[in-house]
């Protein structure tokens, strides 16, 4: 503790010193370097947010015939006032745009009150004035220009960087007058990489071994070991399942069972095999179209069949078939392109150069599936996967699908992709309504992103090729950004599903581009990318936040310390089970139903189907990792939802991270947590640990570091108090130890109850569920 204080003080002084130097140089240089206004970073966000809804790409909503997202259009004489121009480069006083945004006359000012948009701030107006003075030059949207590797920036503190990432990060820090934190202590660092790579906490043995290993490459070795661990695939699968809206039920009204888990097993397998990202995605988009496709490649296409499928009697078939096509199109846009193309379903996009025609051109790739809107209402086996579907046989399990975890495949089917022999015609749908056909369209992509080459086949396989063309500006950026987000809690682009005009700008554009190009140049190697990030000095910093840093960079955008992030819903469960030794490490197989408060499914059901009642599992199935918890879409598992898991209703690439009393109640009262405390306490008593050992080991299992003295003292004291209490309350001993199916090997003693309570306290520490 003392040591950390001292380090903290040093950091504070260092930061103060840098501040002093910075403000001095600022005065000296007049900060003149940044006088050039950047259209992409300073002007476009203003125009997009405040102007383009009425003066942008959507022709139907365009006011006064004025378009401000294209230079030539903005420079033209105004349709309604031919002697005036919205923009006159170099001359703000003649530019109608400037005059209007800066006017105090509300009848003249833009944006008008009727738009419900706030007026521009004085700073924004000044930026636009400067930009016009400098020539009102337009640039292509940053995300539509293919990334290139910039040379590594110069940094003052050249001792700090450990790899390329650090040059970019430190350069930004130095620009902002920030200094990096020291490296985190070894135990906390180990916990971090364990969660980031495997989603599981380190064991006490791992911790002691790692701390005592003083070889220079101990850290790297540990990363390599963890990357080879089969838990890696499970960890990586979770955000991908969110993006792919994977679930165990069909969704919609009756929400009956669906057998799509073999696809989930494939995702885990693919990550563990380190299947390159281009193959990983190509198989999912178009595995069935690859010449001589294997059953594994066809299974991968389940990605595009994970959407909800209705079983509500009486629906209009085409209405829902179109809905599925739209869902695939939206998912393609959000998950792979990071674009909100769904906005162009009913009209041209308001902000991005994506027309309604573009939307339906992309949808044409997904419109020829041999499927119907409603295949069956609630029923048996034959309804668990919908056509087109693939049988999985015993032979497959021995061969090409050997990674699947199931001994009996009788009747096992999974929904996959297969096109009709003759392509279905695709039309623009007026207002997005399923039966309002307008002009016919053909497969294609938005030209503003990258034109679709004539040489590419006009099918999903061609679309995958387009996606992985080195000139595609989005694919690599979008994926590295999401990996970054998973690790740092915030993407370099904060809006991982929107790289368009309304999206957030990258906080460190050169870093994003460098990582994207590097990822592509190195064979789309996912494990390599993760190792690269974990090896950086940026990643290894401690997460101490000084008041100065909190003030300069409250959101830690420039990463001058490691973020403290609450671990995700699945990891909370995994931590609890792994630390107590209850965790069942089986990988894959049908999803399981652990403890859940009674009545949730029963109260909401239509009464039809397998999932009308919650049939909780027993024995080892109660202790599976979080990602195997059964997801019934209309009533998703509550303990997961309270920790912000996705309800898998549609593609999701950015889970919120909240901090609520309901989360506290789960840690206090969820039988899984209570049972784990009991199992761990039981273990300590069996092994005859003394109180000091008990406290230390429980702490190490859950918090994954040695407790400090004040922590030990507090817990020891509590343990003693509880022991005294339970000695005189035998009834409470019986009650409190009677939780969960786990049968303690030792008797229900006051010692067991007291130890349980002490462990409960540790589970409820903030640090338990936080990457620190």
């Amino acid at each position: 503790m003392k040591k950390i204080y001292i380090i903290g003080l040093i950091v504070v002084f260092a930061v103060l010193a840098v501040f002093a130097i910075r403000s001095f140089t600022n005065i000296a240089s007049g900060d003149g370097a940044s006088n050039e206004i950047s259209y992409n970073f300073q002007i476009r966000p203003i125009l997009s947010d405040k102007c383009l809804a009425c003066h942008g790409p959507d022709a139907n909503k365009r006011e006064a015939g004025l378009r401000l997202d294209i230079a030539e259009e903005a420079y033209k004489a105004l349709k309604e006032h031919p002697r005036a121009h919205a923009l006159v480069p170099g001359k703000p006083e003649l530019s109608e745009l400037f005059l209007r945004i800066s006017s105090t006359d509300t009848s003249y000012r833009m944006p008008p009150a009727s738009s419900n948009l706030p007026s521009l701030t004085p700073e924004e107006i000044e930026l636009i004035r400067k930009w016009i003075v400098q020539g009102a030059k337009y640039e292509k949207h940053w995300a539509f220009i293919a990334p290139v590797k910039a040379p590594l920036p110069k940094v003052k503190n050249d001792k700090w960087p450990k790899n390329e990432i650090d040059y970019f990060v430190l350069n930004k820090m130095e620009e902002k007058g920030l200094e990096p934190n020291d490296e985190a202590d070894k135990a906390r660092l180990l916990r971090r990489i364990c969660f980031d790579i495997t989603g599981l906490p380190p064991t006490p043995e791992m911790i002691d071994k790692f701390i005592s290993n003083n070889s220079s490459d101990a850290y790297e070795q540990m990363i390599d070991t963890l990357l080879q661990h089969p838990s890696f695939g499970e960890r990586m699968a979770i955000p991908w399942l969110d993006a792919a809206r994977y679930a165990d039920s069909h969704g919609y009204q009756d929400d009956n069972y669906r057998s799509q888990w073999p696809w989930r097993d494939w995702v885990i397998h693919a990550f563990n095999e380190n299947l390159p990202y281009d193959k990983f995605v190509t198989w999912q988009l178009a595995g069935d179209l690859i010449p001589n496709a294997t059953k594994e490649q066809i299974l991968a296409t389940g990605f595009n069949r994970n959407h909800k499928i209705t079983e509500e009697g009486g629906v209009i078939d085409e209405e829902y078939r179109v809905e599925y096509v739209v869902d695939r199109t939206n998912t393609f846009g959000t998950a792979l392109l990071g674009m909100t193309i769904q906005c162009a379903r009913c009209h041209d996009h308001k902000y991005d150069p994506i027309s309604q025609k573009d939307f339906y051109q992309v949808s044409a790739f997904f419109n020829s599936i041999k499927e119907v809107g409603i295949e069956s209402t609630v029923g048996g086996h034959e309804t668990f996967a919908k056509n087109p579907r693939m049988d999985i046989t015993q032979e497959d399990l021995k061969g090409v699908l050997s990674f699947m975890n199931k001994s009996d495949t009788q009747g096992l089917q999974v929904s996959v992709m297969k096109d009709l022999d003759t392509a279905r015609k695709t039309y623009i749908l007026s207002r997005g309504v399923y039966d309002q056909h307008a002009a016919e369209v053909f497969p294609g992509t938005p030209a503003a992103i990258m034109p679709y080459a004539d040489t590419l086949p006009k099918n999903r396989l061609g679309l995958a090729e387009w996606l992985f063309d080195p000139r595609n500006p989005l694919t690599a950026r979008v994926f590295v950004n999401r990996v970054w987000q998973d690790i740092f809690g915030r993407g370099i682009v904060k809006s991982p599903g929107d790289f368009g005009m309304q999206g957030d700008l990258p906080s460190n554009p050169k870093l994003l581009d460098w990582l994207a190009v590097d990822f592509r140049e190195n064979g789309w190697n996912i494990k390599r990318l993760i190792k690269q990030i974990c090896m950086s000095a940026t990643y290894r910093q401690s997460s101490v936040v000084t008041p100065e840093k909190k003030k300069t960079d409250p959101e830690n955008i420039y990463l001058s310390h490691a973020p403290r992030i609450r671990i995700n819903a699945e990891m909370v469960r995994d931590l609890v089970l792994a630390s107590s030794g209850l965790l069942n490490k089986t990988i894959g197989g049908p999803s399981v139903k652990p403890y859940q408060p009674p009545g949730l499914w029963e109260l909401a059901t239509s009464g039809r189907g397998l999932l009308a009642t919650y049939r909780q599992d027993h024995g080892a199935s109660l202790y599976r990792r979080g990602l195997y918890t059964f997801i019934k879409r209309t009533v998703p598992p509550p303990s997961m939802m309270i920790f912000d898991a996705s309800n898998r209703d549609q593609c999701e690439v950015n889970r919120p991270r909240t901090n609520t009393p309901l989360q506290a109640l789960i840690m206090m009262n969820d039988p899984t947590v209570l049972e784990s405390s009991k199992a761990m306490a039981d273990l300590f008593i069996q092994n005859k640990k003394n109180p000091q050992e008990t406290v230390t080991e429980a702490f190490m299992r859950i918090i994954n570091r040695h407790p400090q003295k004040n922590e030990t003292d507090l817990l020891l004291q509590y343990l003693t108090e509880q022991q005294v209490y339970f000695n005189s309350h035998p009834d409470d001993v019986k009650k409190i130890t009677n939780v969960g199916e786990y049968k303690a090997k030792t008797t229900a003693s006051p010692e067991l109850a007291a130890t349980m309570q002490m462990i409960q306290v540790i589970y409820n520490m903030d640090e338990a569920i936080t990457k620190t």
């Binding site: 929107d498 909190k550 408060p597 309800n647 919120p656 009393p661 789960i666 507090l714 509590y718």
Partner: protein, 485 residues
């Protein structure tokens, strides 16, 4: 600055504070600790211009109770009296009346569409002279407190999209529920209770299930998610301490947790840790506050009599109506009830009577109860389903037995309190009860009107997500000014 505006100003600050630090419910107390003056009027005024103009105007209603009749009760057997249908019993629905309306797959292949009149009789009640069916004697008794709208219409013709439309303003997609919007806009009045609570019950009629996406926060923070209350020992999930742990033990345990978390806060300086400490305190308070609200033993005999004996049976519609009053009275902004069992494709005369018996007395009691307490003026109560029913029979028809399919073009709901005109009947359908002939109210209009009563311009209560400013009313909707008191 008037008091209401000020109060709402406080919420802006509270909300901004919450969203800025992305922390949850209950952090208000912490907020005042960390930033003294955060929630006092001066700060509110100073910052009022930041989120342009919330509240947009002084609200009429502070809270909403929505009695959702899940499955879609027939308008023709409840509030929309159509003697013509009785007269024309068995004759085919004229094509000129249907006029291209799409039908669900359940009746689209029917060879004929025989008109069928209500099995139940209707009478006029109250000063307003509104027609009410015999199955709703209690509602008929308070009809002068209600504003019956007979001209609701929707586009959806199936349960899932229709319900989703009602609750979220869109048929598809994962958008925030109405209650979540209200929680987002108004914040919470009681820091020991969630701002948006959900209560479920089920009648004996044909049911269609509900889905938690109906009370989902969508893209809003999960603190705005509807919290489902259940009738068991744990009214809120995970609320109850384990057997063998009393309140003193819990307090001791939480003190230790807090002490450890404070050590961590000292070391790392991360305000999220302070928030976590505060969330545990709030959880502890909820453990007392919620069971107190659930306890009906202190309700007077008169109240029990008013709601009917069923209100003592946890999980019934009657019990939920009583609980709704208690939650609302304690500051819950939006109480959403769902009562299942209103999907009468067949066996309608029999099933609807049973459904009506469950809901008639408690619904009326809720209005009377709120009125007695002087709360009706500031509480908006809504009763209704997700669409209407066809005027023609689905399946076999006899005088004693018939069914009705889904019908989107017209249906009836009622609203009461919260600045809505009492004793009014609004909107009119044709003599066939098939098309609206006067004052149509679309779902977007309905939403716009509710938000208006709560002090929001529905076009300005927006949330920016993935580049777009979303609103409950999507891109349309008009406030139905004619029904405002």
């Amino acid at each position: 600055m008037n008091k209401e505006i000020l109060e709402y100003g406080l919420n802006i600050n509270r909300r901004k504070f919450l969203s800025r630090l992305s922390i949850g419910l209950g952090s208000a107390a912490l907020g005042s600790l960390l930033i003294p003056g955060l929630f006092d009027g001066a700060a509110a005024e100073e910052e009022a211009g930041f989120i342009p103009g919330i509240p947009h105007f002084a609200p009429k209603a502070k809270r909403v109770i929505y009695l959702f009749q899940n499955g879609a009760p027939s308008q023709l057997e409840t509030f929309d009296y159509k003697p013509t249908l009785v007269k024309m019993m068995g004759q085919d629905l004229p094509e000129s009346v249907r006029n291209g309306q799409r039908l669900t797959g359940m009746t689209s292949s029917q060879k004929s569409f025989p008109l069928v009149g209500s099995y139940y009789s209707f009478k006029q009640y109250g000063q307003s002279g509104a027609w009410v069916s015999e199955i709703f004697p209690h509602m008929a008794g308070i009809v002068d407190d209600l504003c019956i709208i007979r001209s609701l219409h929707t586009e959806a013709i199936n349960h899932d999209p229709a319900l989703t439309f009602f609750q979220t303003g869109a048929q598809q997609g994962n958008r925030p529920s109405m209650g979540s919007w209200v929680s987002y806009g108004l914040g919470t009045e009681n820091k020991n209770l969630p701002a948006f609570c959900v209560l479920l019950s089920r009648g004996k009629g044909n049911g269609q299930g509900v889905y938690s996406k109906l009370w989902s926060n969508g893209f809003l923070d999960s603190i705005h998610q509807g919290v489902q209350f259940s009738s068991g020992e744990n009214p809120i999930l995970y609320l109850q301490d384990p057997d063998g742990m009393d309140r003193t033990s819990r307090r001791k345990m939480l003190d230790k947790v807090a002490a450890l978390n404070e050590m961590e806060l000292k070391e790392f300086g991360d305000p999220e840790i302070a928030t976590r400490i505060q969330q545990y305190e709030m959880a502890y308070r909820m453990q007392t506050a919620v069971p107190e609200i659930m306890d009906v033993s202190k309700e007077s005999d008169d109240i029990i009599k008013l709601y009917g004996p069923e209100c003592l049976v946890p999980g019934t519609y009657a019990a939920n109506c009583l609980l709704a009053r208690k939650l609302s009275e304690n500051g819950v902004r939006f109480v959403q009830l769902y009562h299942q069992g209103w999907d009468q494709h067949g066996n309608l005369p029999n099933e609807m009577r049973g459904q009506a018996k469950d809901v008639d007395q408690p619904s009326a009691a809720l209005i009377t109860d709120l009125k007695q307490r002087g709360l009706l003026d500031e509480t908006l109560v809504i009763w209704g389903g997700e669409f209407g029913r066809t005027n023609y029979c689905q399946g076999k028809m006899s005088v004693e037995n018939y069914g009705r399919d889904h019908h989107p073009r017209c249906f009836s709901i009622w609203m009461a309190g919260g600045g809505i005109k009492p004793g009014m009947v609004y909107g009119e359908t044709d003599e066939f009860g098939y098309n609206i002939v006067k004052d149509p109210v679309h779902i977007h209009d309905f939403h716009a009107t509710i938000l208006n009563q709560l002090g929001f311009d529905h076009e300005r209560l927006t949330y920016r997500f993935q580049g777009r400013r979303y609103r409950l009313t999507d891109v349309s909707g008009h406030v139905v000014r004619d029904i405002l008191a």
